[in-house]
Symmetry: C2
Subunit: 284 residues, 2 copies
């Protein structure tokens, strides 16, 4: 059986696209009245130029129970029209063992996402229940794309193996399960030096890279820095720049597809120049 | 207007109880077929001996959309039968500014909880949207009760203000908003030395203290260590030891009440001996 990250790499290779579309709808920004119809139209319009979709749970929870029904139906629609695509459930869950087990049930059995984003602040207990699903995966929140991520993530730990930042120790924790091949990392595009450093120190885990576009990260550079020696091992997520590329109810879907294609091409241009880790290794 | 933590302290003083009941139902452990009826029976039986209820969102999400309806109706039932009690929504959410705003909407406007638990791993951006609701509050996950919490939380940071563990730096972050009086901390009962240290270094924030009972924490000692100079400023949560005190459909509610009373008394015995911080200060 392929691991989930092998499946994701295969989907990206097949589609020729390392783009993940973030499905983060808010009723007052969506250009039509029906949020589910909006999501379905975005999926239909972009599915040929991307390999993954990432619903951000917060936006559905903010709509209450009807929002959770929209989430459920959106996931079902992706399964129906894009069965080879990977669905990343972005809820950033994390808790003690018994509660993490309930979260894993919710993510993998109820919402049926392929990969869940999680926090590892509570340590290995909070990760392990998600690994009881060998065909699924998790991305541990490691280095985030927001300005204040430095508050905690950048703090320097003076350990027996030298000085390291908190985010790097979180990545070390993920390496504990690198043998299972279903633990990846969330590493934002807005700190390109850290993205490069993390890829060098952690060559194996898959990276979910948010933060391009609206948040300021640069796609071509992120693809080169975040990809592994084989030029894969990552997806780059864009939400607002794709789903809100146009606020016109007549053409928002066409505009979303164009935005996704542009991002796909920027990433592929980066990959043509080669991943930084493979070039550095071949120079050595 | 009272801050939410002032309201919680007032509720605890009025009820003579610093107990929070964790409403964490799993269908295969609940002794009757109807999870909502179970929750309502637990609330009805314990409301006179506790001051707060804490639904853990994971358990409702694991039941899918029907679970979210149970959550909604449970919260409504608490409002109906125990209007002075405080409801803590335990979802441990955390994300970048735009997404955290959606989570704050979900917690405070949709689910209508009084206090939300959140992660601050992404820094101040991820906390601030929750502070836009001045009558509500948050508990930032700081020092958790589980065995593997040491993986990240115990790491030692060598900063300009000396050596500190990660959890202590998270508490420092909470102190940034101590003036707003609506940021508290989650500090587990299973590490009593850390609980005491955190109370000394951070005398102001309210503490949510999980981990007594099934997880091994000791209630009397935790009350003495976690309470502030006035002998308040905390609640101690117990979930499984109360809601599953009996697996008999005939008496689970009576047993839950007894378990909550025992915990209330243990805490009150601790408070009679005095909070450690106030005794230490008066000796000095």
């Amino acid at each position: 059986m392929l691991t989930m990250f092998e499946r994701l790499d295969a989907a990206a290779a097949k589609m020729g696209s390392y783009v993940c579309v973030g499905l983060d709808p808010t009723p007052d920004r969506v250009p039509i009245d029906d949020v589910l119809a909006f999501n379905c139209a975005i999926v239909d319009a972009t599915k040929d130029v991307v390999s993954a979709f990432k619903p951000q749970f917060a936006y559905y929870e903010a709509m209450g129970v009807p929002g959770m029904v929209i989430l459920e139906k959106t996931i079902q629609h992706i399964r129906d029209v894009a069965p080879g695509h990977v669905i990343i459930g972005d809820g950033k869950r994390g808790d003690i063992l018994t509660t993490a087990t309930a979260y894993a049930t919710a993510m993998f059995e109820v919402w049926d996402v392929d990969i869940a984003t999680i926090y590892a602040y509570q340590g290995s207990d909070s990760v392990e229940p998600f690994l009881q699903y060998p065909g699924r995966g998790v991305y541990i929140v490691c280095r985030t794309s927001n300005p204040s991520s430095r508050d905690i993530q950048d703090l320097v730990i003076d350990g027996s193996d030298g000085k390291k930042q908190v985010f790097d120790r979180v990545a070390d924790l993920a390496d504990r399960w690198s043998g299972t091949e279903n633990v990846g990392l969330v590493v934002g595009a807005t700190y390109p030096d850290d993205l490069r450093t993390l890829r060098f120190r952690h060559p194996l885990p898959h990276f979910l890279i948010p933060g391009v576009g609206a948040q300021g990260g640069e796609a071509e550079e992120s693809a080169r820095a975040g990809s592994n020696e084989l030029g894969g091992g990552f997806v780059i997520n864009s939400s607002r720049d794709i789903i809100y590329a146009s606020h016109n109810p007549e053409d928002f879907d066409v505009a979303a597809r164009s935005a996704a294609e542009i991002l796909r091409n920027q990433i592929n241009d980066g990959l043509k120049k080669g991943s930084i880790i493979s070039q550095t290794i071949s120079i050595e």
